[in-house]
């Protein structure tokens, strides 16, 4: 009752968040229509300041910043979403398995993850790279796998608390299999807290994508992605050139709005905290 109620009218912050996200999604979809210039075309000199002609100025090889940001929404949101989904697919599955399948499996998985986490990312990425070659798919796999380790820890810690509840015991007593218990009994109850993590990870991956670009992983030119744009233009900020601020701003905006939405979703699922109402 209360739930439906808050679902129907989200708080202002969440509304803002959704608006921003929606805006960027629209940008992504209708980029060719909205963008004043092409994604790849070099229209002017390098790093021209904002002007009537180029609202956000030009980038490191004289392409219109605004257009790049609009087109960038496609790759950025798309790839980040793919990576995050993959990482959650792997991480949650393993996490639940560790929680449900008993002590040995748990130990094995947990130690394995520890191991993976203590390998420097560079080396890890290089390994995957040398095995799969550089492509958008590899990028997604690399980040997905790397990220799933962190997701695993969270998923597991949440799941262990659910596994001890009586309705899971009932399922065991009924003679249900592992898979069923994971999928039908634990997962639905583990999801809400995972959503919060999803929001954050989703945004981290913007940068992660850009971070791996020196390995040739990442978005292939001439396609734009915000993280990459910050990277390509980043240096100029040290000289007071505002170019990289714009893509950075786009990322920040998305991050914040996604988290606003997430916080709201959480507040629906969480029972009101005893203190929040008090004074």
């Amino acid at each position: 009752m209360a739930l439906q109620n808050s679902l129907r009218n989200p708080p202002l912050s969440a509304k803002i968040g959704m608006a921003v996200l929606l805006f960027f999604i629209i940008c992504a979809v209708f980029a060719p229509v909205i963008a004043p210039y092409g994604e790849a075309e070099s229209v002017g000199k390098t790093w021209i300041g904002p002007s009537g002609e180029f609202w956000l100025g030009t980038d490191n090889i004289g392409r219109d910043m605004l257009s790049r940001i609009i087109y960038g929404a496609r790759m950025t949101l798309g790839v980040a979403a793919a990576c995050t989904l993959l990482s959650f697919l792997i991480g949650v599955t393993m996490g639940l398995l560790a929680a449900v399948a008993g002590k040995t499996v748990d130990q094995v998985l947990s130690r394995f993850i520890d191991l993976m986490l203590s390998i420097p990312i560079l080396v890890f990425a290089l390994m995957i790279l040398s095995m799969l070659g550089s492509s958008l798919l590899t990028l997604i796999i690399t980040i997905g796998v790397l990220d799933s380790f962190r997701v695993f820890r969270l998923a597991r810690s949440i799941a262990v608390n659910i596994v001890v509840t009586e309705f899971v015991e009932v399922a065991r007593l009924r003679g249900e299999g592992l898979w069923w218990i994971m999928r039908r009994e634990v997962l639905p109850n583990a999801l809400p807290p995972m959503i919060a993590e999803f929001g954050l990870r989703f945004c981290f991956n913007f940068l992660f994508v850009a971070g791996l670009s020196f390995l040739g992983l990442g978005i292939q030119p001439p396609f734009a992605d915000w993280g990459g744009m910050v990277r390509e233009n980043g240096r100029s900020i040290a000289f007071g050139i505002p170019a990289p601020l714009w893509p950075a701003l786009a990322i920040a905006l998305t991050t914040i709005s996604v988290n606003m939405i997430v916080d709201w979703i959480l507040s629906i699922n969480a029972r009101p905290s005893g203190a929040s109402a008090e004074m």
């Binding site: 209360a2 009586e166 009932v170 003679g175 039908r184 009994e185 929040s276 008090e278």
Partner: protein, 539 residues
Amino acid sequence: MTAAILEIHGLRVENLAGNVLVDNANITLMPGEVLGLIGESGAGKSTIGLAAMGYARGGCKITKGRVVIDGVTIQDLTAEGRAQFRGRRIAYVAQSAAASFNPAHCIMDQICEMPVHHGVRTRAEAEAWAVEMFRTLELPNPETFGARYPHQVSGGQLQRAMAIMAISARPDIVVFDEPTTALDVTTQIEVLVLIKSLIRDYKIAALYITHDLAVVAQIADRIMVLRHGKLVETDTTAHILHAPQQAYTKDLVEDRQSSDVFQERSLKSGREVILDASHITAHYGDFRVLNDVSITVAKGETVAIVGESGSGKTSLARVMVGLTPPTSGSITFLGQSLAGELKQRSREDLRKIQLIYQQPDVALNPRHTVGEIIGRPISLYFNRSKQAVRARTLELLAQVGLPADYIDRKSTALSGGQKQRICIARALAAEPSLIICDEPTSALDQLVADEILKLLQKLQDDLGLSYLVITHDLGIVRRIAHRTTVLLSGQVVASGPTGDIFKPPFHPYTEKLLQSVPELRESWLDEITAKRAGGPATG
């Protein structure tokens, strides 16, 4: 006539979704007076108790009415102002002391916190006083008791400590919110005595909140009956007990009395044993929870396992369903021996023994619909077609007396009683021979519990089911059990037909249990305490 210490006028409390939890509640509490608030869960008694302290739980708001303590309307105060009243003028004793003590601090710190904070006592004084109280309330080695942490002491002791904490800042009013509900009967009686003496000795006015008429009868001067957030009737204890005006109050009283009388039940046909557990011994780690326990259950029979917390009655249930493999002993079920390990039991074995839990709301997956919950065993055990499953589910809903349209609801939307009915339906869906009920009604309100018990009996008569009922409530035993086994710290102290168990000569422990069950007479508590020479000191 002196002025009221606490006045509540036209109080109305709503939650954020706009539902009214309490409407137009009026209370006048004289100094030293004890007012009992009684009603089922959801009647709004706790809400009123908290509102009396100017506090509303998360998601709730006091939307109407005034709360006046000693002439001061506390809605008018700032947060700080209200804080100064709490604990100092009006204190609170919560239902579960275990949950209400902070696990991170030792008991002494938590008791002293309030008087020191309100500047009533210095730390040293507070400690000295606390130790003194420990001694008077006969807590084990009072000098060091305060140094212990909540998880290190028993529920009864903790509840007493909580009471001490409540009066530590010499309040005028104390709100007791179901202070004994979580306790075993034998402990409950001690705590009751204590509370009564405290109230008398310290001239405290009190709001005593409970669902148990018999309990409140022992303590309250006046009783206020609530239902669905509204006043039903309020009158002196005597009048409520002997001349209730409202129908609802009448029900409460009658039902409570009926649980006191013993109904002889006997099997129609002869005893055809389906479950025979002999010489069961079981351990948690290296702690022995069951010691050479033997019980039998016959077809269509209800066997009750009675005992207090720690008696091993729940462990017995877990052994039966295979969650705790016995270290020795054997179980025979329907003629063939039953594996101790859950994994080694056949799906058929699993199907034929079903379990019903104490807490229906944690026993149901909040993310599943009623249909999924009940339908699953059907499709799992009898793999039927979708329509067949749905048909059977509807049938079961009808059987447990729930409307058909619940099939697509989430269980979270239902009341405790309805949830327990769904648990029963889920158990029936497996078409079992034996249902193990672990405290099936202790989480439910009196009247609701009553209906559940009736339902269980009806099902037994229709389907010839056998029940193994785990409970601490002798009232239930009296009403439904053919046979009874009394457990004390993992051992059987008495066993046999219920009639015999409840007839002298008693085993001393059984007698103690029997005496401890509150009876619906104002004088009961005093009689007991008088009877028990060397019982808890009441002056």
